[in-house]
Amino acid sequence: MSSGMRRRTKTTVSATAASKKFGKYKKEDQKRAGKADVRDEAVERLMDAFRQFMHGKAIIEGLLEGLAYSSKDVEKFSLSLIEFQEDRNFSSKAGHFLSSLINNGADSDYVIHTGHMEAKIDLIGMENTKNITVHGDVGDEVGIHMKRGSILVEGNAGENAGLEMEGGSIVVMGDALKNIGIGMKGGHITIKGNTLGPIGNVERGTIIVHGDAIDLSIHIEEGEIHIEGDLRLAQGNPDISRIVSRKGKIYHKDELIAEDMASGLAFIDMYSGMENEESAFQYGFLPDDEEE
């Protein structure tokens, strides 16, 4: 090597390089990972209102009175909820608050982010009348008492999806836990993935499960339930409770498998291997003459 050449000895992350390359950004502050810095004044006001609600200092209606916000503010607010996710009762309080924001908001379409949080939010879309898209999973009771509109969950749902809903549609792109459509009085639920556990009691409405139904029991009064995947029992357990359909219809891979109590009973026989009477006793099936 000639004397004129300079040997480079070590590579550093030098002041010059970093200030050149990262100096173009305004000063960033360290924040807990996932705590998104997307706030502005309107969102700060929503945060203040939520803080008061979390600490039981006020009821929602009072907090939202006179508060002006847009669907974009609600979206940003949902990102900021990560600050509270370790607080007691966060899951239900957050869902209740978000639902109220949406129902009382001026816009018709809302986006909520949950994918950045570890905690799941319950009660999203409570008494819903709007169109909600959830980027991420939801906890339990999504769409509880929903009246109309739509909820699209891009992730998974917890238990009791569509609890006592009256109308509108819920679509879950992933899986859902037990008791889909429990107490459902109208509307539609679609689960693109699998469901684990019972479906129903459905008074009226339509449920479609594109994936498998695991550890199944179904109870439907009116309406339709479609299972397009496999029906699977919980391992080693022949007790699948009951499949009860009074006026409703149950389809498995487009084949009608139950449309009244008798055929439902036959379906149970098929899975449990028990005799007709035995299974009726086992599962507490109401005999026809005891119906009103």
Binding site: R6, K10, T11, T12, V13, S14, A15, T16, A17, A18, S19, K21, F22, G23, K24, Y25, K26, K27, E28, D29, Q30, K31, R32, A33, G34, K35, A36, D37, V38, S70, K72, L79, H113, G115, H116, H135
Partner: protein, 473 residues
Amino acid sequence: MAGRILEPRKKLYAALGKIADKYHFAPLTEGPNGKLMHKNLVLMALTYILDKNHLLLGEPGWGKTTAAKIIAAKFSGVPYDVFDAVEIRGHSQKYEEKVVGRPNYGKLSVGEEDVVWQGTFGAPVLVVDEGNRLPFDTQDVILQGIDTGRWNYMNRSLYEGKKPTFITMNEKTGTHQNGFIPALKDRFDIVTEQGYWTTMIVFDLKKARANIQKDLCDSKYTQAALDALAKDYPSYKKALEERPIGGHLIKEEKQLINDEICGLALDNDGMLFLQAFMAEVNHSNQYGSKRASDHISQDTHDKNHAGVNVRHSFSPRSVMAAEEYAKAFAWFLQENPGLDHVRFMLPHIFALKATVTDEYKNLHGNDVRKVSEMLHLAEKLVEEVHKRYVESIQPMKNFIAVLQQWEQGERSEIKAEDDQSKQLLKDLTKIDKGEIKAEEAPSLKDDKHDHPLMKDLVREAREGDKKAFYEED
């Protein structure tokens, strides 16, 4: 009666309000933060201010060219009928001589070469109707002109400077469609669509046309300008110096607006989101970078990002357009430019250039939408990138924060909020002590990170002060 002197932004507001009320009805759309606006008109106004190239898309008869000429007249002050007379109308026989210039046959006959320039690029705004119907050679000619502001014919060259350009295109139906050459397509900075939104204005259209005629046209001026053009080009330019249409932006006002826009800076979220979008589209684990000639990547990491859904890259030209339009839009709204403005603009910047894959089209084939498929898919892409951005950006910001503090000497104050930052701090300390090289630092290995933007940040931090051998002292 003396006119009011308005601050340029207010003048812009007044002009747009008048256009929407009297000359060209447009639907109201909500912008970021809920402000209602006539989105298409606003974007066209920004194109005028920034001297950009704007593609207007839509079915025949929905007022694309009319809107372009209204914007041109109202903002430049040159009457509407001048643009009517000198616009380039696309058809298969439109050769270079009809667009740029022709030989001066009189002089040629006595052995003297000279060019008679056409009037289009002498006007303050270029309007090209049905540009996709122009022959490819003519598109090449226009490409150079709208890109450089210089128009060449024979051995002569005329510099007119970069001007705002509006090119219309009907939706692809029927025959006689050349389509745009790729190089010209790449020069379009922005695309908007015009189409049906209501029947309630249909009986007012005749009145609107009459208003255009009354307020925006000046037949004497136009005839004088065309007569001057027939005489010589400098006379034509002189004839266009007077600007009779009221409420227009004078040259100094347009310059002032541009200066104000240039003086704005995107906030960190705006910059990082734009970088994230560019990184997701352009990065490929399998091929290094996005190329239309490559097959779509099957790499597992690539499948999580936007690049797997498009065939073409998101070029620096497009990034610059996105930044400029975002800043201009924020200026227009009297807001600080940030993520929301970038997010608003990106679909219009990228829609024409993306060329989404068939799989992505099929995925959204049944979507309910209010815009063309092209714009809708671009909106979906931006939405998906945004979703990943908000879920993954804080660790990247923490990474930047640690490096900023480290290099500003605030080392004892650095508080690492996540595992990545803690590792980075450890590594920086070791590098500083000479215990390891930057290339060996675990936090500075870009293959440890999934998001392409994080890979970029890590790579930049690691490269340190590396230079080419010819850059060294």
